[in-house]
């Protein structure tokens, strides 16, 4: 504070009074990224992530060595794991964005500038999203490795990665929103984990419990292959060379009409990703009407879907509801992957965006200064 070099007051310093939206967002973004890039925590997390994904990948490669569709299953596995770990990491990167600054005493310093709460939240969200996308980028070696094994088409791969990125963005938005609402970083991180668990596990539990609500007594027609009574000997063993035949049976029973409650699963991040990916069911070999020695249709489809594709199939089955009239022709068809009827992921993504949007809007109101109300126990500075 030497007197010789006073800040030159007569000279107007302020050349522009306005602060454009994107330059404010860019400033907050670079402020956040600089801190992240200069800290150690993020690099440690990236390192652990790489090791874990690599370990799982190598392990899976060993186990799946003999399976056909190896590339597809491995790709699906990596996507599933990146999503699972992403859901675990994104709240950690985002849910202390605002209240961490409050605890550090830097939030109020930003709030007295021309920065608006919307710009602050946008910048923080972008920074945490980019931070979590780095984890996706780091998984790329394994994704490309799986792709190199074949069995996955380009569209499937691109949509998978895109949806992973979108889901990470949604979780980061939820985290930033919660961090603007909650006073303490620990509380907001835990709350964000709870919200993510609600989406990823809660939806499945609610769906499972709700099946009891949609039970209906229906007459069901089911078909199955069995050996004819005449070909069985006294011990119940079929004669060699006996042919299986299709038997159609009608029964009364309670069945869950899952088509009414399938939407409950929509907001699940795994469902959103799995449902959006166009798995190539058309490429599978056509069914041979003739049956093989075991009585099953020849020519496949002995197709093993990966984890995400299984989720996709499960959701489609839930959407279709139980088949109350299953003929022998349909029985063979039922072994094929279900085609997509109504995409459910736009609904799910919509619900997730609604949740994130509401949280961010309330957070924005909370950050608007001058403050009328303050949460109990908070200090502005």
């Amino acid at each position: 504070m030497s007197t010789a070099t006073e800040p030159s007051t007569p000279q107007p310093v302020r050349s522009t009074t306005g602060l454009t939206f994107w330059s404010a967002v860019r400033t907050v973004f670079s402020l956040e990224m600089r801190q992240r890039l200069r800290g150690k925590g993020w690099y440690w997390m990236l390192g652990i992530w790489f090791v874990v994904i690599g370990f799982i990948f190598v392990l899976a490669t060993g186990v799946l060595g003999t399976t056909d569709n190896e590339g597809g299953i491995l790709f699906d596995l990596v996507v599933g794991f990146v999503l699972l770990f992403g859901l675990l990491i994104a709240p950690g990167l985002s849910a202390n964005a605002v209240n961490g600054d409050r605890a550090g005493g830097t939030l109020a310093i930003l709030q007295v500038t021309l920065l608006t709460p919307g710009q602050l939240l946008t910048g923080k969200w972008l920074a945490s999203w980019v931070g979590s996308l780095a984890f996706l980028v780091l998984s790329c070696p394994f994704i490309f490795w799986a792709l190199a094994l074949g069995g996955v088409n380009a569209q499937e791969a691109i949509v998978s990665l895109l949806m992973l990125a979108v889901e990470l963005g949604v979780v980061c938005a939820i985290g930033v929103g919660v961090s603007a609402l909650a006073n303490r970083p620990l509380f907001s991180i835990v709350s964000t984990y709870m919200l993510v668990a609600l989406l990823a596990i809660g939806t499945v539990i609610v769906f499972g419990l709700s099946t009891t609500l949609v039970m209906e007594e229906r007459t069901m027609t089911t078909s199955y292959y069995t050996y004819p009574e005449s070909s069985l000997d006294a011990t119940g063993t079929p004669d060699p060379g006996a042919e299986m035949e299709c038997v159609t049976q009608t029964s009364q029973g309670m069945i869950p009409r899952t088509e009414y409650i399938a939407w409950l699963l929509a907001a699940n991040p795994f469902v959103v990703v799995a449902d959006a990916v166009p798995y190539s069911v058309e490429d599978l070999p056509e069914l041979d009407p003739a049956t093989d020695a075991a009585g099953l249709p020849q020519g496949g489809p002995y197709y093993t879907p990966g984890i995400m594709e299984t989720i996709s199939q499960g959701v489609r089955a839930a959407q279709a509801g139980p088949d109350v009239e299953q003929s022998c022709e349909e029985l063979a068809e039922s072994l094929r992957p279900l085609p997509q009827e109504t995409p459910i992921w736009p609904l799910g993504l919509g619900l997730q965006l609604l949740l994130a949007g509401v949280l961010l809007l309330i957070g924005r109101r909370r950050l608007t200064m001058p403050a009328k109300r303050l949460a109990q126990g908070t200090r502005i500075a």
Binding site: T3, P7, T9, L31, Q35, Q111, T113, L114, L374
Partner: protein, 310 residues
Amino acid sequence: MTNERGGIVVEGVARSFGSVQAVRDIDFEAPPGEVTALIGPNGSGKTTLMLMMASLLAPDRGTVRVAGFDPVTQPAQVRSRVGWMPDTLGVWESLTALEVLTTIGALYGMGAADRSRRAEELLVAVNLTEFGRRPARVLSRGQQQRLSLARALIHDPEVLLLDEPASGLDPGSRVELRSLLRSLAAGGKTVVVSSHVLSELDEIADRAVFVSRGQSVKSQTLDEAGSQMRRYYVQAEPMSALAAALQSYGVRYETRGDSRREEFLVQLGSTAEASWLLRTLVLGDVVVTAFAPAGGALEETYMSLDTDRR
């Protein structure tokens, strides 16, 4: 003095947090070109008032005008004209001092060239040039305090709100702070300083507003404060001679209890009275070894407002 275009005028503001009434009724005025001190005990509502003037907190009642604008309805106008230095030190630890300043400059809408020139200039002004390119975590408390001051000045604000700016500063930095604030006031800025270091404020401030229990209890200029009744302490060798002399002139005195040295405190109405007493004592052959005001002018006012020192 204060008009629609500059300075701060606060009238009858109140603000409570839940059941705690932090500010009950404060009137406050800070004209441009002067340094106004905001003085009060801990928890008297100083920081709350600062937050209301900095457009971070809305008053429940009353009006606030900062540089002619209302912080509640025109926050952007106020923010572009106010530099605020909080009493808490918020530091982005991994950022360099220069980056902290340019980032805040950018958030005030300053151009890239503008803000880096201004940042370099301010680092010189607060004596932090050698730390410009080092992360802020290596700064000591006093250095962070100086960085915080530079940050508040980055957009060349008309109004400067400083909450406890001198705390943590070494004596040298205090002197520099004092001359910096005086020169800002001389340049026409409105400067508000809250502090407990009353002897510091004596030399910096032109006027003072005293708050206590959320109320403004007194407002005076330093000239007024200087001409009021104040206490002097007197020492002599031996003290018994001094006691006898004071008794013979009819001057009431008490023995100062809060000091290590033995000395008497006398209450005198003006500087003329003080010089009369000193002259009389010396001419009366009392060996006076010390004769000085017991505290600064503001401290006298502060102590006389014994409204709530619990």
